[in-house]
Symmetry: C2
Subunit: 235 residues, 2 copies
Amino acid sequence: MKKTIGILGGMGPLATADLFIKIVTQTKAAGDNDHIRVYIDSNSAIPDRTAAILTGGPDPVEEMTSALRHLESCGADCIIMPCNTAHYFLPRLQEKTEIPILNMLEITARSCASRYPGKRTAVLATRGTLATGLYSAALEKAGVDYLIPDEGEQDILMHLIYEVVKASRPLEPEADTWASLLDGLRKKGADYFILGCTELPIVASTLSAEGPFVDPTAELAKAAIRFCEYETTGE
Amino acid sequence: MKKTIGILGGMGPLATADLFIKIVTQTKAAGDNDHIRVYIDSNSAIPDRTAAILTGGPDPVEEMTSALRHLESCGADCIIMPCNTAHYFLPRLQEKTEIPILNMLEITARSCASRYPGKRTAVLATRGTLATGLYSAALEKAGVDYLIPDEGEQDILMHLIYEVVKASRPLEPEADTWASLLDGLRKKGADYFILGCTELPIVASTLSAEGPFVDPTAELAKAAIRFCEYETTGE
């Protein structure tokens, strides 16, 4: 029996589409029938994860569970979540289901260790993700050296994620802001960058600043393809 | 209660992602929670629709119904299918469910009539779609003048759809083939083109040949957004 993937999505919807496309383009396939069956619940009702963690916003677990139940009823063999911050709630979700939820942050940390041994990464993410310390924990466990953006840099990241990508605004006017953010981090010793919010691969692929970048969405897609025992294209 | 969309997908997976993205980008939204909840079953096991219609290939209705049942169990308020050829099977599917299946071909024909009154369109589609006569019927009903590609032109379309997009091959080497196909149809009297196979909007947006084009995927996305009583961006 071929294995299938369930995407617990909507956090946000474009990041959900981005993960789905990365699964499709990274699967070795010569036609429609060579692809993995993918179930998606893009649940736009899931409350903001950063607000829940930092400012006492509504708990997102109930709406995440609603999506989880839909993916279970479809018969998904693994669950993946294209939202870094949402991983703070992964242990509570995993308690509710027998289906393995693949951990994007741990997968990314292992990939950093093998792709850039001895180098230092900068973690680009929302305040919510950074406040959880989940990336720090995953990177330390994998033996990866890292630095965390300072307050001013976090302001810029929050602007790009919330006021531009999630607000469906054009990215092009932000090209200089993005490039200077990366240059500043490079001067502080970053050798490469983790695009640790699922809106950021959209920024990095639209604007042409130099990386190198590690894209957790792409790493998660590859891990899910391998979980389903399909071959990746090696892209 | 907010309405939701179910995408009966996998025909092919990239066309499924394309439809999902068009729903997201065409919905007027200032944040994740302003979007429509979308359920997707990208069922890669659905047999090829063109083969079923033209050469006695396996009937796709059983696998399409499997996806339909998943979308029903999620609670979708309407169903949409990002595959023109699949619409041949729409009446059989509609008999199996109370949920309305929005008809992409009829939506497209009505849009042609209102956007290009008195002009002639060329229907770019698979042999399967053209053989069903579904576009001819929808366009005649909407009072739209049209022409159908000849055998040689259909060969080129089948090559682009099956040997390039569905086979995950690069499109750039096909730029001249695509431009000459459109020029030939323009010489025969076409004023604009219906991208009547869901792989073709991917061709038209990647290669830069002149249209104008009517994209049934975008028209279907807009119709589904309006069905759910959300506002479109007007893009």
